[in-house]
Structures are given as structure tokens and as C-alpha cells.
């Protein structure tokens, strides 16, 4: 049933764009303007109007003018609350959207920056299944985090956001679409398991702890640690013996990850294998280089290098 409805909606939006309030993607920043804010009564609003009708008939029947006045006041206040709901959205601005990192299949975190020249409360933003609410002070910027589901690697356009508010009384719902023209880059999903990269023969020398270099960390004493590595001063302030750990990442052999060496695999398998290796290298703090068709990334390490490589993998045709 749900997919059928979705298809019907898509068809309607294609055929009747003005009726379905469909909007093409547009450039950021987007400011909500009166022509794109729609107001509908909520379920509670409909129920409340029935109640007002009952009160009206009752007051008229009993010729009770005080009760009639009260009913009119309540009705007029409800109508006024519709305008307040509209004003809650009118002029709200979505300044920019920053995307986090995610591999295909996992939700990606979006940070939406809303700003406003006046105070607004109880504004809700929906993106697919994820929903959140925020309030904003006059002249302030609110950063809102939402998760967007992803399916495959590469550039993925942002889904439509629905922003709505039923402030102040919950009787009316003012809403609008936000459809920013922006795409997020989804990283490829690394394969579950596979062979390690072919690396230069591991040199036993590299595996030894080197002394004299910068202190990397203190760790607890393990049987077999040389006595001269014990950090006596630090251990005196501690329950157990602490050992200076001089092991350093760059002493691990660097990996040269190469697209060309993965013959016999199709492109997507190569990408997911490379992604796994890049992940492993990052986890082990190795230096690595990456050769991709049309993109050669030199040897490096660290989060930026990692992101660079993953982006390159994501953007492969």
C-alpha cells in the first residue's frame, strides 16, 4: 500500500506540480516566503472547531450572551493562532547545510543552519523518517542535526525537507517544503572480509620498538618489557608499573594501494576492497598511497588524507 501511495504521489507531483506544492530544488540559502507556506488545520484543530460549534449552538439555544461572548472569543483566538503559526515560519532562512561522512547504507548526518531575524518556537523539521524540533532567538543561528538514509556510493542529492509548525495552540499546521539544491558524497561501503594488500616484505627491524624517539604513550607493564623502558617516576604515582611505549606508526610499512593490481574483479568490488584497505590503514595509522584510474594520491596519513582517498573512491564512475 505504502509504495503504491508513494508512486501515486510522485505521479501527481509530476503532473500537478502546483497542486502538490512541489518545488524544484533551489539554491541555498532558502528563505521561507509567504507564497510557499501552506496552512491546514490539524486533527485537533478540526475537533476543536466542532467543539466551538457545539458551544455556539448551546449558547444561542440558552440565549446566554456571556457564553456566546466566550465562544466568540475562543473562536477568534483560534483564528488568530493560525496567523501566529504562519508567522512562525514566514521569513525563516536555511543558510547552509553541512554533510558529515557516511558509507553507503548508513545514514549520513546533515547539519542544517537556520537563522531568523525574530524569535520563533516549536519549528519542526522532517527529513524522511527523522524529525526534530527547534526554537530560535532573534538574530541567532541554530545548527540542527538530521540523519538522511543513503543507498549507494557517490553524489546523492538531498531529499526534500518538510518544515512545519503548529505553534502556539496546535490547532493549525503551517508547513512548507525545503528542497535545497545540494548533494552529499556517500563513501563506498568496504567489503566485509578479504585478503590483505600485497605489501613489501615486512622487515623485522621495523617491528622492534625504537628507543630514543619521542615518547608515544605510557602503558601498563607487560612481562618481557625491558627494564629501562619502565617510567619510574610515573609509576611511583600509580598502582602498577608503567612502560614508555616508543612504538610509532610510521614505522609500520606503508601500503601502496593500487587499482591495477586487483585484476579479475569488477569495478565495484575493487572499490569496496580498496575502501576496506583504506579503512584498515587508517585504523592502523599506516601511511598509504592510492592509485586510481585518473587519480593518483600520494603517500600520506591522517584523517584528511583518509577523507581525500574515500572521496576519490566515492567519485569513481
Amino acid at each position: 500500500m505504502a509504495p503504491l501511495l508513494q508512486r501515486a504521489q510522485q505521479l501527481a507531483e509530476r503532473r500537478l506540480p502546483s497542486l502538490t506544492r512541489y518545488r524544484r530544488a533551489e539554491k541555498l540559502p532558502i528563505e521561507l516566503h509567504r507564497r510557499r507556506i501552506y496552512i491546514v488545520p490539524t486533527g485537533f484543530g478540526l475537533g476543536f472547531s466542532v467543539l466551538l460549534l457545539v458551544m455556539l449552538v448551546g449558547a444561542l439555544n440558552y440565549a446566554n450572551n456571556a457564553a456566546l461572548l466566550l465562544t466568540c472569543l475562543l473562536g477568534a483566538a483560534s483564528a488568530a493562532s493560525m496567523l501566529v503559526a504562519f508567522r512562525d515560519l514566514d521569513g525563516l532562512r536555511l543558510g547552509h547545510i553541512r554533510a558529515g561522512h557516511a558509507v553507503a547504507g548508513q545514514p549520513i548526518e546533515l547539519t542544517l543552519a537556520f537563522d531568523s531575524s525574530r524569535v520563533r518556537q516549536a519549528i519542526r523539521v522532517e527529513l524522511g523518517r527523522d524529525a526534530t524540533a527547534f526554537a530560535i532567538e532573534a538574530g541567532a543561528v541554530v545548527h540542527l542535526k538530521l540523519m538522511m538514509p543513503t543507498t549507494r556510493r557517490g553524489w546523492q542529492p538531498l531529499a526534500r525537507l518538510r518544515v512545519w509548525s503548529s505553534w502556539p495552540l496546535g490547532l493549525f499546521r503551517a508547513w512548507s517544503w525545503l528542497h535545497p539544491e545540494q548533494a552529499v558524497l556517500v563513501w563506498p561501503r568496504p567489503e566485509e572480509a578479504g585478503p590483505p594488500p600485497v605489501a613489501p616484505a615486512e622487515d623485522a627491524r621495523h617491528m622492534r620498538l625504537l628507543q630514543g624517539d619521542e615518547l608515544a604513550a605510557l602503558r601498563e607493564y607487560r612481562v618481557g618489557d625491558p627494564q629501562r623502558h619502565v617510567a619510574w617516576k610515573a609509576s611511583a604515582r600509580h598502582d602498577n608499573l608503567l612502560v614508555k611505549d616508543f612504538e610509532r606508526a610510521q614505522n609500520r610499512p606503508q601500503w601502496q594501494l593500487d587499482w591495477r593490481r586487483l585484476d579479475g574483479l569488477d569495478a565495484e568490488s575493487r572499490i569496496s576492497r580498496l575502501a576496506r584497505w583504506v579503512n584498515e590503514a587508517q585504523a592502523q595509522q599506516r601511511h598509504f598511497s592510492l592509485w586510481l584510474p585518473g587519480n593518483i594520491i600520494a603517500n600520506g596519513s591522517g584523517p584528511e588524507h583518509y577523507a581525500h582517498c574515500m572521496n576519490a573512491l566515492a567519485q569513481l564512475p
Binding site: T20, F44, L70, A80, Q121
Partner: protein, 658 residues
Amino acid sequence: MKRAPGPKATIDAPIDNRAFDLLSGTLALVLALHASHLPWWLSAALALILGWRWWQRRRQTGRVPAWLKLPMLVLLTLVVIAWYGSIFGREPGTALAVGLLVLKLLESETERDARVGISFACFALMVALLFDQGLIATLVVALGLLPALATLRALQPARLPASVRGTVMSNLGLLFAALPLALLAFLLVPRLSTPLWGAPSPRQATTGLSDSMTPGNFTELLTDDRPAMRVSFDGPPPAADLRYFRAYVMGYYDGRGWHRRPPDPREAVASIEAGTTVSYRITLQPTRQRVLPTLDVPLQAPAQSQMQPEREVLADKAVTEAISYAGTSASRYRLQAVLDPASRQRGLQLPAGFNPRTHALATQWRQRFGNDDAAIVQAALALFHDGGFRYTLAPAPLGRDSIDDFLFSTQEGFCEHYASSFTVLMRAAGIPARVVTGYQGGYWNKLADYLLVRNSDAHAWSEVWLAGRGWIRVDPTAAVRPERVTLGAAAAAGDQRDWYRNDWLQDVRNRWDIVNRWWDQAVVGFDALRQRGLLTPFGIRDTDTGMLGLLLAISSVLFVALGLGWALWRREARDQLRAAMHRLENKLARRGITRRSSEGPQHYLSRAARALPAQRHELEALMNLYLSLRYAQDHPPTESVRAFSVAVREFRPLDVVK
């Protein structure tokens, strides 16, 4: 158009403590407003349940289990049926509704529950007005909307923290913004000329005049300070001793009390020759009776009422809501100059075997004064004036021959006693006489030019028929206590007044009465008839339902347009910094240093500094300030922007060096 369902989680999530507190507060207020007409034990029990639930929910969120809730529901229904005998009708219906509302709190846990509870509470607030639609009650009920609205706000997610005062003010603001439209709708919503279902059930007996009078039954009335009616006169008000308002004429005496003769439709209305006339308008509080008091003696009956043979005015139906009517009366008159034998016989009716001493006294007077009826009247008044009679609201009880007891032994009483005994004396002496009840006196409100007549101004006097003069009014009470007539009932009662009726308090009450009068006239008394005459000032005599509907539609559109104007109005988020820079550019442009369209501020101001070497330092300072405000931070502090603005204002460019 597609509407995606809202996030389910928020609808079913338990509401927070603040929302629950506000909901409980709203319900407590509703209960308090209804406490005056619910049985006290029911109010107390409901208050107890409410308090317990609030305490319980504070400790642990969750609904009250059904095994506790259902018996309470059944018990409530049974109790209402046992007490009122039914669950239909205004009182039992209200008791049930308030009870259900409180029980609703037991299962109020989610947003949806809270919204249902608040809607129901709004309805219960309206119902409270069916019992009392006075100004104070209406205001209190309207203020009762504040916690209800605050609860609805508290159900919204992501609110900015607000103080109690802030919440109250924003809700008050909403109500005040709604007031013009509400008043307009109030004026224009077409009233029903006949109720759609069951006529409103009568209230409990209200104190007021009745169509029979037994000495002593005015006592309750004379201590009731509530307004009975308000009278405004066309022209100056009549003198204090002419402010007699005629309600019932009682001609039948049964030995104990006086009764109104059942009206005979064949009988003609007593003729009258009017001297000076007075026109006036009376706003009468509901009396549940048909009688419409009029200034003595009325010339015509107002609309929808009938003039009775003895010149009483009876409305076509009992007065259940405040009504307003106009009348014209004669203050100098000759009423029924010729008395037909039947009327004469009725005017002399006395039961046999009562009050022998009174009869003896009357016979003695008749012998002494012969045919001079006026002299007998004077003798009776002289007796009251000089015979040691006292005016008191707490007279001694009277025996079987009540007139004898009063005239010859107790000699104390108030208007009823004097009017009754005087009339019996006259009849015994052979002069046609009858008792008239109504109001006398009242408080003249100088601020708003109207006469306020309270229930305590109820009065009884006599009419005697004298040949050639017709029925004339004789007030024997005035002979005993002239202040009663000139100053009013309160003055006549002297030291018997209660502590709360001292002068300044009375004064405050009289002033407050202006507001009440306005409320009764403008709001409570605005009925279908008045609505039809709404547009008379604009030349439309009869405003019918269609016209009202059209007006309502037009003016609603007007208000919607106004509201939209407000909603769409956006104060341009003015960039103060930009504006100040613009001023600086204008100043420099007047000296010929115009900013080019592609020129950045730094380049432009540097160029200006070169062109105005005498002010180089000033300009460079301005430039640095502007650059740091504009580019070094996202949101420059307001004070710094203001400082820049002031510096620009004080900057006076000198002549350019070419």
C-alpha cells in the same frame, strides 16, 4: 495534497511535568468555578481526586489503572443519578461533565489526552456561564482560558524558556488580539428567536415581589441589596416622593394577607386623566414573574405586555432574562373618577369575624367625621404619626386578629404592616381602598444619570378612592417614618443596618453598579429584538438573519485582511552596519569621493583618506573599525556597531585637496 503523518513518537510520548501541572491547574479552576452549584461533597471529592492524581503523577508518570478508574466512573454516574434523579438537564449534566473532566485527568498521559482534556475544560468553562452570566463571573471564566491556552502551548516541542509572566502576557495578548473579532461576531451572530431544544430550566426561586402579601414576607426582600431594576428618565427625574413604582394591586383580604384578584378579561382598564407625564426606560432584572413594574401610574403598556384593569402591567411571559422596556406614566392624575358598583364593592371587601377593635375604631371615625372621607384618611395617618408607632424590620409576631394586634398592642412593623392595617381601617370605615406593592425610592446615580432600585426598595402602600378625586395614593409608612419615602429604605431602617452597609461601602457599590448596569444592558440584554434594531442608526429598520450573516462575512474578511497584514508585515532586518556605511558614503560623495560599484570598502576608504589628508587618521580609524566589524566576526556586538554609527555621524568631511 498530501499530508505526511507527524512523528508518531511525539503524540504518544508522555507529556512533561509543566504541561501536566498546567492541565491540573486548568481543571482545578474549572472545578472552583462550578463549586457554587455542585453539592459541596461532590466538589470536595473531585478536588481530592484531582489533588491525589497530581501528586501521584509527580512521583511516577503513567495512567491510573482501569480497576481504579472504572469504579470511580460508575460511582460518579450513580451519585449524580441518586442526587438529581436524572443525568439530563442543566444541573445533573453539569455535575456529570465536571466529574468526567476530573476523571479524565486520571488517564491524561499523552499529548492527545491533554488536548482532549483542555477542549473539554473549555466547554465546562462555558457551562459555568449558564449559571451566572454576571460581569465578574464572565471575566473570571475568560481568565480561565489563560491556563488552558498555556497548557496547549506547553504541549509544543522546543519552546524557549518563558517566565510565568511571559506566558500569561503572550496568552493575554492572543485573547486581546482576538477581542475585536469576537465582539463583532458577538454582535452579528444571528440570535435564535426560539430555542432549538428544551427551554432553559427555571432557576431556584429568586427573591422578588409576589402577587400576594402577608405581613412579614417582605423581610427577606428588604435585606436583599441586589439590583431589582434601573430606570433612566427622559428629562429630569421625578422628585423623591414621587418615585413609586407600581407592580401589583391587591384587592382581596382574607384576614391574614392580601391577594391579587384574578384578572377578568372582560373588565375595562380603569380610565385615567393624566396631568404631568414622565417618560422613562426600565431595565428589569429577571424576576421569574410576569409583572413589569412601572412608575405610578402607567398610561400604556410596553410592547409584549398587557395593561390590567387596575393598571398593573403584565408581560406576555415571565421575565427570565434581564429585559428593557420604555414607559410613560402620569405623576399627576385622576384614576377612575367614576367607580362602578362592582368595583366599589370589591374595594370594600373584608372577611367577617376578624379584627373587631379595628372595626370599632373605624365606625367611631365615621360617626365623628360624617361623610368626609378625606378627614378619616387624615385621622388614620395622624394615628400612625402620633400613636407611638415604630418602624422596624424585625417586628413582634402577630396573632389571629393581626390588624388589631398591630394597631393596639405591638405598634411596630414596616411598610407591609402599615399599608395592610391602613387599608383595612379604610375599608372598615366604608372607604374603597386597596394595597399596592412595588418599589419606592432608589439610588440616583449622578455619574450616569439613572435610578438604581434594589430589592430592598420594595414597598407597599395604599390607594383609597375619594369621590371626585378617584384613586389616590396614600403611603401610611411615610406618616410613621418620612425618611422611608424621602431617603429610602436603608435610611429608614436606621441602626438596624448591617455593618457592611456603611456609607462609603455603599458608595463604592453604587459606583460599581454603573458597570453592572452597562453589562446587563449591553451584553446580557442584547437579544434577538435588539439585534434586529442594530442598524437603525444607519437607516435599516429591521436587520434580518441574511443581512446579519452578510455583515458577519464581510467584517470577518476585513478582520482576516487586517490579521494577514500583521502576519505578512516584516520589519526589514536592517543591517545597522551597512546603513552607517551607507551614510558615510553619502557624506563622502558630497565631497566628490564616490564609491565605485566594484570598489571594496578598504580601497574606497583608503582613496578617501588620500583625498582628505587632513582627516586621514579619522578615516583610517573608521575603515579599520568597519573592516573588523564586517569581516572579523559573524555577528558583531551591537555596542560596537552603534559606536561606528556614532563615529560616522560625527564625521564631517572637509574640502577635498585636488
